[in-house]
């Protein structure tokens, strides 16, 4: 491999000191990933996974490592209060755990929820599988630097057969600081056999800032486990977020994800799921709505590796102004994964000249007893529908907003948490392009 070109971004990320845990396997993994990051550098658009997301502008910037003042930053609690997410809450400000803002004292039985740093001190062994991974794929740069540098995050474990009724709220605040910061968060989540959990992951801004955040989450659902995951990404307009979540679903496990991607300057969401056990099921619903000069890239890869597994995916994109929305939805059915049923729909609205949508649904099928289908469209609001509304006295702007909202609503329709659903719908409407 050729020597990667050095850039201010690469230099500043490599400059950060590696955290030392004193746990051999962890320090070794951090070192390994750090070396891999240093050796390969950042991907350019020739790397297939980054074809539509150029990092050139980002590589010219440098970020200070971590936030020493994170504990003292003033964050208005009302910012992150979410209707329908009133259970235990964990709050991170610029990647640093804030005990004063979190509420994890009275946890329901069967739920273990603590900062990763604490979990590592108490009992690191159960985290070994997730945290000793090496990221070897081309283009894994941000996962590598996260694995090397993240020293905190969320450790969440639900005991076998525990049904956690209250939603858990994970909050990641990007707070204004004197410098642009780079921070890394690592989440490890495990839902035990037959257990269930609702999780709300929430990214938001407190003041203007242009930080670079990376987040890597490993989510394991044991046999028969259920998880409802809602992701609300409403980061600052200038913020950069590189997020990767990897789901592993065992037999009869069922995970649903509702994602609303609204904020950020450059946002990349790598979403991976492995359906490892028979009859596992993964349902995703998402909206990405970049405007201004935002760039939101969602890369989803679902692997059906067992019998009678099901995945459904419904994604909507709306790009306006000079924004760019990128979507990849790859479905793989492994040899022998008979009875797999996979469907994916990605519809996009392109609302202005200068905006761009790039979409790439993929099917890779290695078994024959399967049903697999995908559809993707890029277009604009239906003229006839617009005419219908306008002929009934609804002004153009409102008519467009109505239709755009309706276009996105399908994604939220089956979110069972009603209060949260209503709130997200309101947010969506507020966020509609003018």
């Amino acid at each position: 491999m050729s020597q990667p070109a050095t850039s201010p971004l690469l230099a500043s990320l490599l400059d950060a000191p590696l955290p030392v845990s004193g746990i051999d396997w962890l320090d070794a993994a951090r070192c390994e990933n750090h070396n891999a990051f240093a050796a390969a550098g950042l991907p350019d658009t020739r790397v297939e996974a980054w074809k539509y997301t150029g990092l050139r502008a980002l590589t010219q910037r440098s970020f200070a490592s971590g936030d020493a003042d994170a504990q003292s930053r003033v964050v208005d609690t009302s910012h992150f209060v979410l209707p329908g997410a009133d259970g235990p809450r964990v709050v991170f400000v610029n990647g640093v755990f804030r005990a004063d803002l979190s509420s994890i004292d009275a946890l329901p039985p069967g739920l273990l929820l603590q900062p990763l740093s604490v979990a590592l001190k108490e009992n690191a062994e159960p985290l070994r599988f997730a945290l000793s991974r090496h990221y070897r794929e081309e283009g894994d740069a941000f996962a590598r630097i996260n694995a090397a540098c993240a020293d905190d995050g969320v450790m969440l474990r639900v005991a076998t057969h525990a049904k956690i009724e209250v939603p858990i709220h994970l909050v990641f605040v990007g707070a204004a600081a004197d410098a642009d910061l780079a921070w890394h968060v690592r989440n490890v989540i495990e839902i035990g056999e037959g257990a269930s959990l609702e999780l709300v992951e929430h990214h938001l801004a407190s003041g203007e800032q242009n930080h670079l955040a990376t987040l890597v989450a490993d989510i394991e659902l044991r046999e028969g486990a259920r998880m409802r995951h809602t992701l609300l990404q409403n980061a600052a307009v200038g913020a950069n977020l590189m997020r990767r979540s990897s789901f592993r679903l065992h037999a009869r496990a069922h995970a649903t994800l509702h994602a609303l991607e609204l904020g950020g300057a450059l946002v990349r969401h790598d979403l991976r799921a492995q359906l490892l056990g028979d009859e596992a099921r993964f349902d995703t619903r998402g909206v990405f709505m970049p405007h201004g000069r935002q760039h939101i890239d969602t890369q989803m890869a679902i692997r059906h590796e067992a019998l009678n597994t099901v995945s459904t995916s419904v994604w909507r994109g709306v790009a306006s102004d000079r924004a760019r929305g990128v979507f990849r939805g790859a479905i793989l059915v492994a040899p022998g994964a008979d009875g797999s049923d996979a469907s994916l729909s990605n519809k996009n609205l392109l609302l202005s000249t200068g905006a761009e949508i790039d979409t790439k649904p993929e099917l890779e099928i290695h078994a024959d007893e399967v049903k697999a289908a995908h559809g993707a469209t890029v277009g604009q609001l239906d003229e006839r529908s617009l005419f219908y509304l306008r002929s009934r006295g609804i002004p153009m702007v409102e008519a467009r907003a109505l239709l755009t909202a309706a276009f996105c609503r399908a994604v939220l329709d089956d979110l069972p948490n009603e209060a949260l659903r209503d709130h997200l719908s309101t947010l969506l409407i507020e966020h509609l392009p003018a």
């Binding site: 000249t353 905006a355 761009e356 790039d358 790439k360 099917l363 024959d368 399967v370």
Partner: protein
């Protein structure tokens, strides 16, 4: 069954035609065949070899330079590895880039019985079999004079149709103007290689306002057998003209060359229409994946003029490895691009094929219908790009990709790329993958249709949308071809 009657009738018609043609074709029209030097070049690739090749073909200086430029560019390029193909390394220095045509078997008795059996199944007329099997030209009724008859008619219409080598000598201005203007010499690895060492191919020029009086086919061209492994085809349709071109043949052909890297360029000027149909049935290798042709093709059409139209139709059943993406650049306003494809892979065949539709002009339209059938241990991928550039006001694309799986060990993949920069453009893509359903099979079997026939019927229905686009006799042959290619896929 109805279909069988149609096939029989068509075959009889074809045979009758061929008999008439044969009767006409007893005399050998000297002077029509391009002079073929009985020289061979030693294996290897270098500037010297290219100069010699160019000299043997009596090419002008500019052509030699053009080849050398391409070669120098090729040297700087890496072999592409993005396709979903497993390709054993190719030693380009071990290939011979010019070989005098070999004398084929002297009579049908010397031809591989397996090949004859395939002809039998396809219903290829007897004397055709000899020609296809490469039996020495003077031992069979060649289509020489058939070709000459056609040439007279074409000449009357002002259509130029000849081999590329001939065109370079006879019509250098036209060739120079258009060659490499759609697929530049450095376009991709295989196109660069082809530009450096292309052996021969077809050249078609339809002047302004002319509707080509017949469907053109390499079949009518005498030296078509020797186009070699690096075929180069150029079709130019001037303002308001119209041409339909058929490439290939349903009958299997044995070929000494393992590597084929062809380039086809189409240019459609204002209101011109080009329809290009291909049936590719090169040797796919045996059941164990040994042998077989590597088919790396760059095909691209350029709708340069307003209201022009380019349509690609392909039936791909042969070759061990296929790497092919016939594309259309929709430059002219209201221009139309179409791609209809059936790709069938069996045993250990691998195909990575699809199309690109680049919408540049206003109100341009494209339609993609791709049907992939995988059987045995094969791998079949559709890879396509639909791109709406900023100026593609009101452009429209519709894509449909369906894959059919026959067997547990094969793979069917779909990789569509959609890039949209214009807010008034509409792009739609749909894809499905499934196997032949048990219900369908049960229905057919319950009505006394054998398993093999049922599969072939269902596959035929699956491909109908594409077959409809083929010229009639091609369509009938294509159906038959799928049947033969799928033999042994069931049970």
């Amino acid at each position: 069954m109805n279909n069988d009657t149609v096939i029989q009738e068509t075959n009889i018609a074809l045979r009758d035609n061929a008999e008439v043609a044969a009767a006409l074709g007893r005399s050998y029209a000297a002077g029509f065949v391009t002079d073929i030097e009985m020289t061979s070049l030693p294996p290897g690739l270098s500037e010297d070899i290219i100069r010699q090749l160019s000299a043997i073909k009596q090419e002008p200086e500019w052509m030699t330079e053009w080849r050398l430029d391409a070669y120098r560019h090729w040297l700087t390029m890496p072999m592409p590895d993005w396709a979903k193909l497993k390709i054993a390394p190719i030693d380009y220095q071990a290939l011979s880039y010019y070989a005098a045509p070999k004398a084929g078997p002297k009579s049908l008795d010397e031809v591989d019985p397996a090949l004859l059996e395939a002809y039998e199944k396809l219903g290829v007329p007897l004397h055709e079999r000899a020609r296809l099997a490469g039996v020495a030209v003077d031992a069979v009724f060649d289509s020489v004079s058939v070709g000459t008859t056609f040439r007279k008619e074409l000449a009357a219409a002002g259509v130029l149709f000849c081999s590329m080598s001939e065109a370079i000598r006879e019509y250098p201005d036209i060739v120079r103007k258009y060659l490499g203007s759609v697929v530049p010499t450095g376009d991709n690895y295989f196109a660069a290689l082809n530009s450096a060492v292309f052996s021969d191919g077809s050249f078609v020029f339809i002047p302004k306002g002319v509707r080509c009086p017949m469907e053109l086919s390499t079949y009518f061209r005498i030296n078509a057998q020797n186009t070699g492994q690096f075929e180069r085809t150029l079709i130019v349709a001037e303002e308001g003209s119209h041409v339909s071109y058929l490439e290939g043949c349903t009958a299997p052909r044995r070929d000494e060359n393992q590597l084929h890297a062809a380039v086809v360029e189409l240019v459609a000027l204002e209101k011109a229409q080009i329809k290009y149909s291909t049936v590719q049935n090169w040797y796919p290798g045996d059941e164990n994946g040994v042998g077989g042709i590597y088919n790396f093709v760059t095909k691209r059409g350029d709708c340069r003029g307003d209201d022009s139209k380019i349509s690609w139709t392909q039936v791909e059943t042969g070759s061990a490895v296929t790497w092919k993406y016939p594309s259309v650049i929709l430059r002219g306003d209201r221009s139309v691009g179409e791609f209809y494809s059936v790709a069938l892979t069996h045993h250990h065949q691998q195909a990575d094929t699809g199309t690109k539709m680049i919408h540049i002009g206003k109100h341009t339209k494209s339609k993609i219908v791709s049907k992939g059938i995988s059987a045995g241990r094969s791998s079949n991928s559709y890879r396509g790009l639909v791109k709406m550039e900023n100026g593609a006001e009101g452009a429209r694309n519709y894509t449909q990709c369906d894959s059919l799986l026959i067997g547990k060990k094969c793979g069917a993949h779909t990789f569509p790329y959609m890039e949209v920069k214009n807010p008034t453009a509409i792009v739609e893509h749909e894809a499905t993958t499934s196997k032949i359903s048990d219900d369908q099979m049960f229905y057919c079997r319950a009505r006394g249709i054998s398993e093999e026939n049922a599969v072939s019927m269902i596959v035929d229905g699956f491909c109908k949308q594409v077959f409809r686009e083929l010229p009639m006799e091609f369509a009938v042959e294509a159906k038959k071809l799928l049947e033969v290619s799928l033999e042994g896929a069931v049970g």
